[in-house]
Structure formats: C-alpha cells, structure tokens
C-alpha cells in the first residue's frame, strides 16, 4: 500500500509502527484509570511540542532553532505511544469519527478532542511571551517530567515503562539545554535578567500546580503503574533550588490557593483553544483521513 495511492492526509506513516506495540493491561489494573493517567502524560508532551514549534525560524540563534525543534520532536515521540496506551486501555476515550474513517485512535485523540477533553498541565499550554519564558517553561517541564519518568521506568505497565526508559535520557538533554540558557539569560544583560526574573514569577504558580497531587495520579501510583507528582517534589526542588540560587533568582512564595480545577481536570486557560484550533484544523477538515 503506497502513500500516494491512498492519498493519506496525515503524513507518511500510513501503517503506524506503534500499532504493533504490546498493549496488554497489567493484571488487576483498571483500564480506564491507566488510560486517564497516560492521557495526562501524553497531553503534556503533545501540547508542549505544539507550542515549542512556534520557535522554529524565530529562535534567537540557529542552534536554538534546531534545539527547540528537536526537543519538540522528542516530546511528540513520547506523546504518540502514550496516546496509543490511552486508546487501547480505554477505547471509549477515543472520539467517534465518521463510519469507515481510517484515522487511527492516536490521531483521533490528538485532533478530534475538544479543549475540555485535554488533560495537560496549564504550564505547557501558554504562548511564550519571550525567549526567557520559553527557557523557564522548558526548565520546569523537563525537570518535573524527568523526575516522574525516572519512577515510571518501574511501572507495571510495559508501555509506560518503555516510554519512560526512552524518555529519561531525552529529558535529561532537554533539562540541560534549558538550565544552561537559564544561567546565561539570568547572568546576561540587565534586560535578559529582567525578563528571566519575570518569566519565573509568571510561570512558578503553574509549576506548583503541576506538582499538585491529582486523584488519577494517586490511584495510578497505588496501582503500580504511575507516579504521584507529590513524591517527586523533593527531587525537583533539589535540582531547581541550587540552579535558581546560582542564578540569583528567587521564586515567588507559593501562597496562592490551589484552584478548584486544573489542567488535569480539563480546566484550561483562554490561550488553549486557539492553540488547538491551529493544531487540529487540517485533520478536522478531513475526517475521513483522505484528501
């Protein structure tokens, strides 16, 4: 079956290599819970990747243009098997498409869910006000995700464990990139420092929110398939604390009351729907997956 003969609209991977992954569900684990947990991790990566690609052709220098595109590609690569995991553990999550549509569940989840169906942290969905904010956002995302993935390597679910094992060294590169540029910008000109301090102030509350415990994550951790963000707070602080201290940047006090609903509940910021509109428009124009 060739790509051209079929007029496949969603890119070159007509027969998805991930379709052959072993997606059996571990004994005694609730499929709906496993799916809900995987979806949060998938959406964090998918939405962050979509946001990061905005920097393609706009980054301050060529190295960063390449770096941001590569990091986005890594995250997209992490999102895909996680979406497959969610769809196979709980098929009811996958949006219904017209009868006979060949669009795989992975794409249906990415392109045919409404904003309220996404479970990503609000940290990853905002547009970057400037490059300092892009650096701080990546630093916070990669540090937390790396700590979570280090635990997920031991998940009883083989897809989550596999994604995590591959993701750990990738996220370590992402964190290194962000941490180096954080120090450069914080110690650079008066202007770069001002912007870096402002980015930490703006994003810190969303970082705290991403480390809040959510019922799905607690249950997934208890079932031996997931990690509770509360359990990685210390590890995250042990990385970020010395880094911020070296940069001479003080995070704002985390006194803000926890919002009633977060991104993990499907509550998103006003910036999120326009982001999805752009990401989903081509797929939604072709629900049969063909031109």
């Amino acid at each position: 079956m060739s790509l051209l003969d079929d007029g496949w609209a969603f890119g070159a991977e007509f027969a998805d290599p991930l379709a052959s992954l072993d997606t059996s569900i571990p004994d005694g684990v609730d499929g709906a819970l496993l799916a809900a947990y995987a979806l949060g991790l998938a959406d964090d990566a998918l939405v962050a990747a979509q946001r990061m690609t905005w920097w393609c052709s706009r980054a301050p220098e060529l190295e960063l243009d390449l770096a941001w595109a590569n990091v986005a590609l890594d995250l997209l690569g992490q999102a895909r098997p996680l979406l497959v995991r969610a769809a196979t553990a709980e098929p009811a999550l996958v949006p219904a498409l017209p009868a006979g549509s060949p669009i795989p569940a992975e794409d249906a989840l990415a392109f045919f869910r409404e904003p309220a169906g996404f479970r990503n942290h609000r940290l990853v969905e905002g547009a970057d006000a400037d490059f300092a904010q892009a650096v701080v956002r990546l630093l916070l995302l990669s540090t937390t995700r790396l700590a979570v993935f280090e635990r997920l390597r031991h998940s009883r679910d083989q897809v989550l464990a596999g994604v995590a094992a591959k993701g750990v060294p990738e996220l370590a590169y992402h964190r290194d990139l962000a941490a180096q540029w954080f120090l450069v910008l914080a110690g650079g000109t008066e202007e770069s420092r001002r912007r870096t301090v402002a980015a930490v102030a703006a994003l810190w509350p969303l970082h705290v929110e991403a480390l809040e415990t959510h019922a799905v994550e607690v249950a997934a951790a208890r079932a031996g398939v997931g990690a509770d963000p509360a359990d990685v707070r210390e590890q995250v602080a042990a990385v970020l604390g010395p880094l911020l201290e070296t940069a001479g940047v003080v995070p704002p006090p985390s006194g803000r009351a926890r919002p009633a609903a977060t991104g993990r509940d499907g509550a998103h910021t006003a910036e999120f729907a326009p982001l999805l509109d752009e990401m989903q428009s081509v797929a939604r124009a072709h629900p049969m997956g063909r031109w």
Binding site: P17, L21, L66, A67, L73, G77, P81, G162, A165, E170
Partner: protein, 174 residues
C-alpha cells in the same frame, strides 16, 4: 536466495535475519540495522509470517517507519515473505547497543561515534554542559562543541581544534 532454497522454519528464520540485519540505516547508511543495535529478533510466527522485531532509537525519530518499510521490502524481495515488523520499547535502546563494527564505520565516514558506558539506572544529574570532550574522528584532535543539537535529535555538532574539520557526533543515550 530463492524460496526453494529455504526449506525449514529455522533456515527461513536464519535467512530472514541475515537480510534484515544487512538493511542500512536510512539516515546513517554506513551502519546496518544490526550495527545500530535496533534489530532485536526474527521469528517465524504460527501463521507462517516472518516477524522482525525492531526497537526505536530516539522517541520521535521518524526513521523507524522507513526502517520498517525497508525491512519488509528486502525480506519480501529475498523471497522470504510474508513478513511483518513488530516494535518493542523494552529494553530501551542505548547508544551502547551500537556494535564495535558500527563505531568503526561511523568514524571511517567522519562521524564521531558515541562513547560507551551511556547506560545508567539511577537519577540523572544536571550536567550543565560538562560532558566529556569529543575528539575528531579524522585526526583524534580535541574538538569544540558548536551546537549540542544537530540536524537530528541524535547528533551534536563539533569542530576539531587541530585540523579544523567540522563533524557530527552521535549523542550518548542510555
């Protein structure tokens, strides 16, 4: 190899392994899939199909689909089909899985191979760029890093301080 030359399952499996192992990597054609360490197993399934098990390198690497298509085409062309490719994630691929022959082939083609010992299990410390130095694949001179991110996720860019030649280095992951 023709179909008639292959009689038993074991012979077909062995023949298919040799064909799949020799498929070149789509991005680094000096390496075979066996050299790269992504070919995990070849079996003959109950329905008679040859099953080739591959593992991806980097999560987002688009080369996986091309590898899959190339394996299917070559095994088919060798008269050993039907064939299908399965993907497994565990154990995760590491740059340590590149064979000694693969490392030599990379260096001979001016690409700096990843250093061994990448695989680790504990928490990853923040390195802040203090990676071990990369040396030139041509003259072994000490090299500077031009960019930790090359044209693909798996590569970084360097320039030799001795001969001045720029080159790619395959990053360590494990």
């Amino acid at each position: 190899m023709s179909v008639s030359a292959v009689t038993t399952h074991a012979e077909r499996r062995q023949a298919a392994w040799l064909v799949a192992a020799a498929v070149p990597d789509p991005e680094l054609p000096m390496l075979t899939l066996a050299d790269l360490g992504v070919l995990r197993a070849v079996e003959v399934a109950a329905d008679g199909a040859v099953e080739v098990v591959l593992t991806p390198t980097w999560s987002g690497c688009p080369a996986l689909a091309t590898m899959r298509d190339d394996v299917v085409r070559r095994v088919d062309e060798a008269g050993l089909g039907p064939v299908r490719v399965l993907v497994e994630l565990l154990p995760a691929w590491s740059s340590d899985d590149i064979s000694p022959q693969g490392r030599r082939a990379l260096a001979e083609h001016g690409v700096s191979p990843p250093r061994p010992g990448a695989r680790r299990t504990g928490p990853v410390p923040l390195s802040l760029g203090r990676h071990r130095a990369v040396s030139c694949p041509r003259c072994d001179g000490a090299a500077e890093t031009l960019s930790a991110w090359g044209p693909t996720p798996c590569t970084s860019l360097h320039r030799c301080g001795e001969c001045g030649e720029p080159f790619q280095h395959i990053k360590e992951v494990g």
